[in-house]
Amino acid sequence: MLVIAVWQGLVSFGFAPAVLLPPPGFVFSRLLQQLVTWTFQQEIAATLIRLFAGFAIAVVLGVSIGIASAANPAINAVVRPIVRVLAPLPKVALYPALLLLLGFGHGSKITLVAADALFPILLSTYYGASTVEQKLIWSAMAAGTPRYEILFKVVLPAAMPSILTGCRIGLVISCIVVFLAEMITSTDGLGHVLVTAARTFQAVDMFVPLITISLLGLILNGLLGVLRSYLLRGFPEA
């Protein structure tokens, strides 16, 4: 609400010309108009598929690598330097290579999303898992849990707060990157709608996908919040 108020204020007091920043009323009415059209729904669907697939891959890889390297010094010795090198690389620079390897469809964009969302999740998981209270692990071991199972039965749940924080950051990054990928090489998706509108100065149409991604972020974050309070119901902070 506040965002919209500030936005309206900026427009009404002339801080930004309407051609660059259209009034929110226009944008929202266009959004409603667009939402019911089949083409726009398809664009959203394309973006969502990439977003979820990329994010899901990042979560699975990030959590498993993070936990494995926290649990095992040998794996850690290998993973740690690799992460140090790969994490700060600007993945967009690899995008042209990805395009040629995986084509212009979902594959390259999903990979880019996964590559960018991976490291925040991995790092959070690693730190969460490496600070698990040792006596929890001891208790489980003494109860006869095999070592590899400890990862799923103790380390994973105990590191869950940290993992979910990483996921929240990864999710936001996924939203940004999926858009960026669609903007760089656009054939469909919300990013594509945005660039085409931007190139032709259709300010209202440009803001419709922006608002959509904002709302998507808000909704997804809300869902993550619900998931969080469910998964962490036993933890003191929940």
């Binding site: 965002v3 330097p81 090198v85 790969l86 390897l101 960018d116 707060p161 960026l180 991604i213």
Partner: protein
């Protein structure tokens, strides 16, 4: 100090890097793609870049922006995150706000940002700031939420005001978690340092990279990527030292490796 095991641990990063480069070399040879040069080609291009005084100045300019963005982000995000973690009202206010702002790609907002801030350093520093602040805010937020209640109570009983508790109890107690956020932030700072120079370019490391990309000079592109990777390792190593010193008290004392046997 120099037992074989310790030496192996020291050398592991070197081996990992060599391994990565070797994998890259093999992959690029197998793919035979102009836009995916071999590791050797990329390595050969590094001296060209680093030998060029102008390029060095460019890279330093980028690093300066990164340091600015990172510094300001840390200074702003930690207090905000901690406040959010300790006050439901603040969290209820900022949480949706941030979630509306962050997912919007900054590249898309360029026209408006340019309108207010021009195309210079401020815009790019802002983009870096936004990239860094995301993980720092959320890790501080969750870290502050998880601070043991009775520690807060102890502080309150000693007469600490809520602000003092925030600084003197929540901050140190959440520090391990905050530093995790800062480390992710550091990674994102490097990435956004480069990508912030994608659309509006001035002197900078990203400028070198994206120009080479536009020109199809892929050995330079990948040489720049290696350089950024190397900067990442250095910054990370420095950060890790600082972290180890700050949160020694929180390190687990016993360690049973959970080997997969």
């Amino acid at each position: 100090m120099t037992s074989p095991a310790a030496l192996a641990r020291r050398a592991a990063p070197v081996f990992a890097c060599i391994g990565l480069l070797a994998m890259w070399q093999v992959a690029s040879l197998a793919l035979k793609n102009d836009s995916f040069p071999t590791a050797l080609e990329a390595l050969r291009a590094i001296p060209d870049i680093l030998g060029d005084k102008e390029a060095l100045i460019n890279i330093l300019a980028s690093l300066r922006r990164m340091a600015m963005g990172f510094g300001v982000a840390v200074l702003v995000s930690i207090p905000l995150g901690l406040l959010m973690g300790r006050s439901r009202a603040v969290a209820a206010f900022f949480n949706p706000l941030l979630m509306v702002i962050y997912p919007v790609p900054k590249a898309a907002l360029m026209p408006i940002i340019m309108l207010w801030l021009g195309v210079g350093d401020i815009t790019k520093t802002l983009v870096i700031f936004l990239g860094v602040s995301l993980p720092v805010i959320y890790h501080s937020f969750e870290g502050a939420k998880a601070v043991e209640e009775k520690m807060m109570w102890s502080g309150a009983a000693m007469g600490l005001s809520s602000l003092q508790r925030l600084v003197r109890i929540v901050l140190p107690a959440a520090l391990p978690e905050i530093l995790t956020g800062c480390r992710t932030g550091l990674v994102l700072a490097l990435i956004t340092m480069i990508t912030s120079e994608m659309i509006a370019r001035q002197s900078g490391a990203g400028n070198i990279l994206f120009n080479a990309l536009d020109m199809g000079q892929y050995d330079t592109v990948f040489a720049m990527i290696i350089i950024v990777g190397a900067m990442g390792i250095c910054l990370d190593a420095i950060f890790e030292r600082v972290r180890a010193r700050l949160v020694r008290w929180s390190e687990p004392q016993f360690d049973i490796p959970l080997s997969f046997s």
